[in-house]
Amino acid sequence: MSRMKLLFLQVMVAVVGLTIWHLGSTVAIGVASNGKPVHLLPPFFFSTPWDVIKRVVTMFVEGSVYKHLMITLIEATLAFAIGGISGVAIGFWFARKPLVAAVFDPYVKMMNALPRVVLAPIFALWFGLGIWSKVWLGVTLVFFIVFFNVYQGVREVPQVVLSNARMLGMNERQLLRHVYWPAALSWVFSSLHTSVGFAVVGAVVGEYLGSSAGLGYLIHQAEGVFDVTGVFAGMVILMIFVMVIDFVVTMVEKPLLVWRPGETKTV
């Protein structure tokens, strides 16, 4: 399928969805006993696409949204950096020291099984309502994804590649640098989209549950006053935000994963 055709079909999905939303929320299908028009999608609950777009544009034009975007971006970035670095470090450590891994195994599983949302209030208590409670919430999400991937990546280096590297004269340190590290890194990158997404989730959920700034805060505020248009506008901005970040991640990983099979195309 050509690129243009695909793009056209993708746009059509949005057009159809928005049209249904628009018609359902603006065209009356009857009149209630009190004389008010009845809609399939009552605007009070669903707003209208046009109102949402106007609100999004207004927020960007007036500039009120930038501060919140910045806060969420900082939180997500910090969560990703801290969670990523600690995940790589501990993943490596566990993979190279089976005893440590065995001892901590049940605790890691327990921690990972815990729904992170329940941690949000306690983090707010510990780290305050500023950015750090959100950062740490994001860290608990990002850490486990990166950790498991690195752990797996290091342990699943094919035995024959390892034997070959040793026969080529590599010592432990050289094995780490030339074999384990690249193998782990490829797993980290394959999970990059997920972990970046989770960093944003951590930030937004944290903001949602208690904060004074950020995209989650915006949405929460709008919900508090039954401003459905505001809620949808916040969600649209959040979606654009995540799409942009995802695009950046794709740009970053492309040159780093050229050695991977499946990337070659006939020309």
């Binding site: 024959v160 034997s163 070959n164 026969m167 050695w259 099979p261």
Partner: protein
Amino acid sequence: MTSASTNVPAVALKGVSVAYGFAGGGRYEAVQPVDVSVEDGEFVAILGPTGCGKSTLLNIAAGLMPPSSGTSLIFGERLSGLNTVAGYLFQQDALMPWKTSRDNVAIGLEVRGMARAEALKQADAFLKKVGLASFGDRYPHQLSGGQKKRVALAQVLVREPKILLMDEPFGPLDAQTRLIMSELLLDLWQADRKAVMFVTHDLDEAIALSDRVLVMSAGPSSKIIGDFTIGLARPRDIAEVRSLPEFHILHNKIWNCLRDEVRKTYGLSDSKAGAAS
């Protein structure tokens, strides 16, 4: 034989056996105590049915696994840990997929402390020798099976090992590519003779390449049941050597020895029925 001044064999496995213990307390003897010796400059093929433990012997000579009993002597010295004077060509893909062909070849020199520029220069020269001069920037997944083997061969040979260990290196390749690779190997080896331990299950390949063929019996408890000297003149031409009458005589002799063992692995018949056919 081209063994230089000394008479010390390059590889001498003395009374080496392999047994695996199971968690339940059982014991599986893979290889009975065997003696194998490879002179310096000698090309020895180890031939046997699948699962007879011939690769295991290679891993012991490489120092990748310790024998259950017996000792391995490398140029007269007892081997403990990895065999650092040996190069090992594996059956499976063993290249580092995240490195280009050039880097894969150069890394064996770099880890020795050679400057990167010099290592890359030598890597390029070796890639040229194996006919991949213009493939230095390719990653392994961009190469065919035969090309990967060539890179692997360059990777091993560029370090100038004194002993070459090969574990059915051309096994996964198609018949034509195998022939080409055997030719390449023989050309490279004839230029600079090293001790070679070459494990294979292909009788033709074993005769065409080697100075001596050792036949192993079917597992478990395999042992060496035949030791044939291949007197074919060197340098050899892989394609021509197969049409010589001596080749067929050797082929028949070794096949008689090997046939019963191959049958045993497939449970076709006991040795009596095999001999009668």
